[in-house]
């Protein structure tokens, strides 16, 4: 009797499913795009591979998930008139990070690193000739996205999803040991190295279990993980390739106060702060207080937390319909 071996997750796909899966993979293929004279390259996913006439939905990754959103999400956006273009930030797993000089503590604090990333993304937008862009910043990418919204005139509307602004929210991270690790990265250089090694060890050992623990407070995020395990596995490999100084820079920009974020920072841009409902009251109250100070409207999506736009795609489209598709709303009314 012969033994039929099935793939690790689920049953062997049917030939029809295999063809569909091959289309999905090709449609979301990452490509390396040269900017400037070609010495600088970024990993980019242009959904369906070529820039189309649809409105660009430019997504910039958070440190916890340097992968594009699911095929299902991209396809839903496509049907609604948006083409997902996902950019993997420099140093996040498969391209060189910023030069070491910019990642020194003093330079990070001065905003030099974060604004350089914004300038690089601005250049990518010029290379791809994108216009009338909706920018979606995910989690730790938001300090870069705030700056990008200011320097790039081709961005018409920005969504800062799960943005930390200057909130005192370390206590919202779950589980407790993960919170401890984050604290460690902020304290000393040795603490940073210890904590990043710890995270990488856990990811190498059992990525799925790591994500399940970190995402435990949101049913929507857990469902998203459940349906996109291959993406999370790839994300864990990319995270393991991030250099400690890039980790440190990203966490510092997210978790420490950003002195450059003055009250009127967003006064000339159309933007909203976005969060999932599946989070803690502390997060919501801190987000609302900071958004009020910065004169940004706050929007909530019913499902998801870290990945709320992906987990609540229908509601995310409703939000775009209200703000982005309605150019008659002046900035003053938005803010």
């Amino acid at each position: 009797m012969s033994i039929i071996r099935f793939p690790k997750f689920g049953r062997r796909p049917s030939p029809l499913r295999e063809r569909a899966s091959s289309f999905e993979n090709e449609a979301r293929e990452m490509e390396s795009i040269a900017i400037g004279a070609g010495h600088l390259r970024l990993s980019v996913m242009i959904y369906r591979q070529a820039v189309s006439e649809l409105k660009p939905l430019l997504i910039v990754n958070s440190v916890d998930f340097p992968m594009p959103p699911s095929h299902q999400f991209c396809d839903q956006m496509w049907t609604a008139g948006y083409q997902v273009i996902f950019v993997r930030r420099p140093g996040f797993g498969c391209s060189p990070g910023l030069p070491d000089i910019l990642l020194e503590e003093e330079k990070v604090r001065s905003g030099a690193a974060v604004v350089t990333e914004a300038a690089i993304l601005d250049q990518l937008i010029r290379v791809l000739e994108l216009e009338n862009i909706v920018l979606l910043g995910m989690g730790s990418a938001n300090p870069v996205c705030y700056r990008l919204s200011l320097i790039c005139p081709n961005i018409s509307f920005s969504v800062f999803s799960n943005a930390l602004f200057n909130q005192d929210i370390l206590d919202v991270f779950e589980p407790v040991w993960f919170r401890g690790m984050l604290r460690q990265t902020m304290g000393t250089k040795a603490g940073l190295h210890f904590a990043t090694h710890g995270v990488k060890y856990l990811l190498k050992n059992d990525a799925e279990s790591f994500y399940k623990q970190v995402l435990q407070k949101s049913r929507g995020d857990l469902d998203y993980l459940e349906h996109n395990k291959a993406d999370f596995l790839k994300a864990s490999e990319l995270i393991c390739a991030i250099e400690p100084n890039t980790f440190a820079y990203d966490l510092k920009m997210s978790l420490e106060p950003d002195p450059h974020l003055k009250d009127d920072f967003f006064k000339n841009i159309r933007a909203v702060a976005l969060s999932g409902m599946e989070t803690t009251p502390l997060w919501k109250s801190q987000l609302e207080a900071e958004a009020k100070r910065l004169a940004l409207p706050v929007e909530y999506l019913p499902s998801g937390d870290l990945y709320a736009p992906y987990a609540s795609a229908d509601h995310f489209l409703d939000l775009l319909a209200r703000y982005d598709r309605n150019p008659t709303i002046p900035i003053a009314a938005l803010n």
Partner: protein
Amino acid sequence: MKKDSEEIKRALEMLRMLEENLHDAQFQNAPIAEELKHARDALASFLCPQSILKSSTDNALEKRSPDDDA
């Protein structure tokens, strides 16, 4: 600090981008002009630590400083 040629080329690219953005930001009096300047200066000192680099943007601004007007 040991610099490899690829890193120097990348840093040069970034410097050029920053100069472009800095010029626009200063022209529009944008709040991030100061950050762009820090980044530009850091990369310039990395690429050429012995010399004091001054960009055309800075020189142009210096020429238009209020002291000069007075």
